[in-house]
């Protein structure tokens, strides 16, 4: 169970506004990437985000480029989870592969505002907001295993006996 402060965004938040293209071929550490997180959508985010914060958004979160830094920078910024009505396919995979929990939730999401607090019960698939409980579907076992191992690389290291 985690409890986090909400950053609220709309539909179609694309990877260019999460992590601008001009930085994508520069060798940056995840911590450096975090300083550019959401730079072209909300410049206040990178300055004020705190570990454990949660991003709540509308449909198609992470659409656009395959750039994995879009997930890496949010994880490094301390984001505990992203809750959205739907995710773009590549971002969804990149988030899991970086150990960043992504929760698809259709119901109740419009009620959640910036600065609200949400609780997430990952085990039972429940988001709690102002006393209301909203259920989200469990991830497939193969996908959950990657998230539980902390991302794709530790997961594969384990599978290959390099753990």
């Amino acid at each position: 169970m985690i409890e986090g402060r909400v950053w609220r965004y709309g539909d179609d938040v694309n990877t260019d506004v999460i992590f601008p293209g001009k930085y994508t071929y520069q060798p940056l550490t995840p911590e450096e990437m975090a300083t550019h997180a959401l730079e072209d959508l909300d410049p206040s985010f990178a300055k004020e985000v705190k570990p454990g914060d949660v991003i709540v958004a509308g449909t198609n979160f992470g659409c656009g480029s395959s750039r994995e830094q879009a997930a890496t920078c949010l994880k490094a910024a301390g984001v505990a989870a992203v809750i959205a009505k739907s995710f773009s396919r590549i971002f969804f995979r990149n988030a899991i592969n970086n150990g960043l929990p992504v929760i698809e939730l259709k119901e109740g999401i419009d009620e959640i505002e910036k600065g609200d607090t949400v609780k997430i019960d990952f085990q039972n698939g429940i988001v709690i907001h102002e006393g209301n409980e909203y259920h989200f579907p469990a991830l497939p076992a193969e996908v959950l295993a990657i998230l539980e191992d902390g991302g794709l690389i530790p997961h594969v290291r384990k599978e290959l006996g390099k753990g």
Partner: protein, 423 residues
């Protein structure tokens, strides 16, 4: 019940008789593509603890995003990639200047019917125009493919998009795909396998089909398949790196949705800032002043695009105050354009011709926009901040609309200037 293209090819690659949507399968791609991001991927690969790339022959690496290097950091990235390629014995390596990955893979014969191709670039969907199942993945996944040659994929539901009628010149496949995305939305085909079919698609050149598959990702699709036909097989003659076996959907396959469009009534379309689905007929935005016109990218930098633009620009001058950038999609396109005199037409009209590459499209290299500037581009994305300043605006259109607008300095209906004729 028969299977869709996605079901059929993923079943085949997973060694199963039948797969259903939502099923997770483990597959080995025929080919894997990466570009300048190979520097970062090779570093992730090193963390896995495996010394050798398992099957070097599966990997195709094309330097195209920041070529030639404009900063020491980019130069270092390229150097690391060249070292990695040499150490690991990766033979399918194309250094900067050969072209944009999504043009180079088809030209060099990797985009083959019935193959599974994954690339660490979202526009990897382009190879669907050759009857491949091709999709974008992340850097970590590509690093794991180096180590294991295996990846999991979920079998998607499928949409069929039927396009009736024929496009009327100068309306192109770019106008068609903008209209489709405008109608169904940026998440309209989220996580779906899209199959394009119908008279308009059958009539289209192979290059025009690539525009549809390229932009399938802009409506959220996992892949954008077009049934390979004689045009496809002819394109691949003398190019294909190996024998291929086309895969077609079963006639009784089950589609989640069938969407129908009419090409014959379609006019030029423009996607307005800052989303690709913010689409209007060109008439509604005509007169909008532009500072930069961009012809090129993995969407519309092919010979037929350059030909169409050159027909409009020949013997004329680009408007004062407008910068026009032309980037052929590959060396092969550049050579053909030179032979046909198209490059001379562009230069005489006042355009700036750049080397084949991706640079300006993603704001990483060349042609970036200042605050307040407007660019009309043949690219596939108009997201805020993509081409430089977040205070700049990007409009997307076909090569004909971009060329016509470069002449006037404002967004212009290409039917007004095409062949000097009226509408």
């Amino acid at each position: 019940m028969g299977m869709t293209f996605a079901q059929k090819i993923l079943a085949q690659k997973a060694g199963l008789d039948h797969v259903a949507p939502s099923q997770i399968v483990t597959v080995t791609p025929d080919f894997c593509m990466s570009h300048d991001n190979t520097a970062a991927i090779s570093k992730i690969f090193a963390k896995i603890g495996v010394d050798r790339v398992k099957d070097p022959e599966r990997f195709v690496i094309v330097l195209d995003h920041t070529v030639p290097a404009s900063t020491e950091k980019y130069a270092l990235g390229h150097k690391e990639i060249r070292q990695f390629v040499a150490q690991q014995g990766i033979e399918h390596f194309y250094d900067g200047g050969v072209g944009i990955c999504h043009q180079v893979l088809p030209e060099k014969g990797f985009a083959l019917p019935g193959t599974l191709i994954l690339g660490s670039d979202s526009h990897t969907t382009t190879y669907g125009a050759f009857g491949a199942f091709s999709a974008g993945i992340g850097r970590s996944e590509m690093a794991v493919l180096y180590a294991t040659s295996k990846i999991w994929l979920k079998v998607p539901e499928s949409f069929k998009i039927v396009v009736h009628g024929r496009l009327r010149e100068p309306v192109t496949s770019k106008d068609l795909i903008l209209r489709i995305i405008g109608d169904i939305g940026a998440d309209g085909a989220l996580y779906r396998s899209v199959e394009f079919t119908g008279e308009a698609i059958a009539e289209m050149s192979q290059a025009s089909r690539m525009v549809l598959s390229n932009m399938a990702i802009e409506m959220g699709a996992k892949n954008g398949y077009i049934a390979p036909d004689d045009k496809t097989f002819r394109f691949l003659e003398g190019r294909a790196v190996r024998k291929y076996y086309p895969v077609y959907p079963d006639p009784d396959a089950e589609y989640e949705k069938v969407l129908e469009f009419d090409a014959s009534s379609l006019g030029p379309q423009v996607a307005k800032p800052h989303t690709v689905d913010n689409v209007s007929p060109v008439e509604e935005v005509a007169g909008t002043k532009i500072d930069q016109a961009l012809l090129g990218t993995c969407t519309n930098g092919r010979l037929e695009d350059l030909r169409l633009a050159a027909r409009i620009l020949k013997g004329k001058k680009i408007a004062k105050g407008v910068r026009m950038l032309v980037l052929p999609a590959s060396q092969e396109v550049l050579l053909d354009a030179l032979a046909e005199g198209l490059i001379e037409t562009f230069v005489r009209a006042g355009a700036l011709v750049l080397n084949p590459g991706c640079g300006p499209c993603l704001g990483a290299h060349q042609g970036v926009l200042a605050p307040g500037e407007v660019c009309l581009s043949t690219a596939n994305r108009n997201f805020k901040g993509r081409m430089g300043s977040r205070e700049a605006e990007i409009y997307l259109a076909s090569p004909a609309t971009v060329a016509a607008s470069a002449l006037t300095g404002v967004i212009t209906d290409p039917r007004e200037v095409f062949e000097g004729g009226a509408k």
